[in-house]
């Protein structure tokens, strides 16, 4: 059977929290839509890290499956999102997120 991990699981989860927060900051602070996107990928990735760490802790493989799905969903999102960015770039010649404010109030 698996021995318990030599590195405390909390450390992994803390690391994932730090990465998650950095991703959040990226979404909030960057204006380039592609970069916002990458930041979201970073957030998802940090959640994955937490999932894997917990899966190790509980010795169940379900966490890994969840990670697998998250990666796949991320791939799907990327496909759609990048297509959207391309489409918007064609119309507006800009991918700055601050240029999108047609609606108000």
């Amino acid at each position: 059977m698996l021995e318990s991990s030599p590195v405390a699981i909390e450390l992994y989860v803390l690391l994932s929290a730090v990465l998650f927060v950095m991703g959040t900051l990226g979404v909030l602070l960057r204006r380039n839509a592609i970069l916002i996107f990458m930041s979201i990928e970073l957030m998802l990735n940090s959640a994955n890290l937490a999932l894997v760490a917990f899966a190790r802790q509980w010795n169940t493989i379900d966490g890994h499956l969840m990670v697998f799905f998250v990666i796949t969903v991320a791939a799907a999102e990327v496909a759609v999102g990048l297509a959207l960015i391309v489409a918007i770039y064609r119309t507006k010649k800009s991918i700055s997120i601050d240029d999108l404010h047609k609606f108000e109030g």
């Binding site: 959040t24 979404v27 909030l28 204006r31 601050d98 999108l100 109030g105």
Partner: protein, 773 residues
Amino acid sequence: MENVLTAVPLVVFIPLAGMLINLFFGKYFGEFGVGFIGVTASGLAFVVAALLWAGLRDNNFEAVVVNPPLFDGWISIPSANLEIPWQFRVDTLSVTMMLVVSGVGTLIHLYAVGYMHGDPRFPRFFVYLNLFLVFMMTLVTGNNILMMFVGWEGVGLCSYLLIGFWFDKSRVFPDGVSEGWKNSNAARKAMIVNRIGDFGVLLAIFLTFWTFGTLDFYKPDEQPIGGHAEEAEEHALVIASTDEVIAEEEHDLSNMGFLNQAQVLLSDGEEHQVKFGSVDLSLKAIVTLITLLMLLGAAGKSAQIPLFVWLPDAMAGPTPVSALIHAATMVTAGVYMMVRANVLFHHAEVSSFIVTVIGATTAIMAGFIAVGQWDVKKVLAYSTVSQLGFMVAAVGLGAYAAAIFHLVTHAFFKALLFLASGSIIHGMEHGHHHSHDSHHAHHEEEFDPQDMRTMGGLRRKMPITYWTYVIGTFALAGIFPFAGFWSKDEILADSFRVFWDEGELKGIFALMLLITAAGFTAFYMWRQVSLVFYGEPRHEAGEHASESSLLMTLPLMILAVLSIFGGFLNTPSDLPLLTDLFGAHKFTDWLGHSVVNAHAGEFLWWLALGALGVAVFAIFAARQLYADETTSTVRITGDPLARNPQTSQAFALANAKLLWDEMYFKYLENPFNVASRFLADRVDWQFWHDFFHHNIVYLPFDQGAKGISGNVDKVVIDKGIMMVFARGPWEIARRVRRVQTGFVRIYALTILLGTVLVMIAILFPDIRDILGI
């Protein structure tokens, strides 16, 4: 759901809130806003009433008494051992009344938004209407007779204010009086006549307190003795418990409301003496006296002989007022009071007899007068008097459930008829203006939009009004299967039962009079339909009349549906199909939980058929008689009944309202007027109006605010309260809106902010305690 019942104060406070908002800020809102607030207040009251209904159902129909938080010791005089809390009573009877008042009230509020469109005092009208709801709800929810009386007086005040609402109409009638004067005079008349009735109620209250030591109908933890709660036999035709059963049980009188005390004391078959100083009176006599005094009050409020004279005049008020106050709700307050006190009436045979006689006589008398009226609203007014007579007679006959049932159905179809008549008047006025605009030459004759002689042929112009009016007519005339058929039949069947089973003369007396009255009802209603809707227009106004707006016709349609199906609330038990569909005696069973002596009427098919036959015959006769009139385009000069020498006398008598007014003027009103003129220096409409509106409603608020501080008034009232009530939501909305910048990053920031808030809220429950959320 039981805790829903504690929400009952809302039925009073929601309209109160609506009234206050409109009172202070109505002028800022415009018609839409004012109407919206008025309708909403009324509608929310209805929602609360509906919730109460559901709550009561979940609570096994057991009555609940609720103390509103701030008012428990409303009147408290320890030295006199007098403690009168403002308690709300939720039981099946009061909830029925609440539903009718708020339900029909909401529809009428809605209608009024359309009807009062363009009136310069639009906000004030809705203030009055909501105020009326406040008092009416106080009346029906009060758990003691004094609270009921507060509501009773309040609705009187509102009635007065609303009858005289158009006190300044300048139009002058051919007889030289202005319409405004007539309106304010009508208001005054209503006030004075009602005072007489109120005097009776006040005396009844004093007597009650003296005799029983309490004014509560029932104490909070008490259920009515007898009736459903005690023995629920499967749909027993007579549910009221026998006196012997009650007499055998042990009861502690000291902690009982006066109705239960009376029930216990009167059931045990012994003679009880009550000491009035040095005079001893038997309890029976006292109860008889109390009930007679109550009858006096009911005669005032519910327009019975001899105090009915104010009601036809009260039609001077705007039509929504006529529909709400003078047809559906306020005038039934007397019936409500008597049914509430059914225990007393049940044991007071003499009073019951007198009640029956007065009710039945009123029914036939008013029905007769209605035949001779030309004013479209007057006909309906007398019809209301007549129908109230039915209800009062039902009370006298011991058919309390039937009385309330007729009250409910009557509220539906009479409100419908009044609103429809309002629609007619509106249409006629519209047509008049139209024809006025096109031909400028019509100044020679004063046009009365309410005179049926000028109408005719409106069927094609106002189809919705027409159809709903016909439905209302059928319901009122008691045509199967409209609502009125069932409720009227129950009263008739009960009167027969009283005569046949119990051998009491009042039964056959009532039966005869009421059937005749029903015949009159069908006759004058179809006379009206013929004159108003059929044939050709007899005046240019009729030619140009047009259908009213949806705001007005929608309530008509809803009420029409209710008038068609309302009767199935209380389907008799032996009908093959209908009983299966709608159940038997549903309404009576429901009411039986609070009305001790409710019992379901038997369905006598021959009697029903007979009454139906009378109604159909009367309609047929009216149709024949007025068929000629309607084909002519010339304005009718006289009624066919008047032209026929055999009936001309009777018609003249009916047209002159049996000379009641003259008698009153001579013997009652004139002296009173003289006296009050003397007292008040100048008793004209201005005084009454100024005094009531200016001094009682407006000045206290205005002066109170000014009195605190001159500037606070401007700052607090105009800016502060305006901010809270009117500008507040706008202001909040405007600020919140500004956050909605359209920038994604701000949105994401909000999400993050929300996340942090959610986490704090979920991780630190103590913070929430500190904040008191």
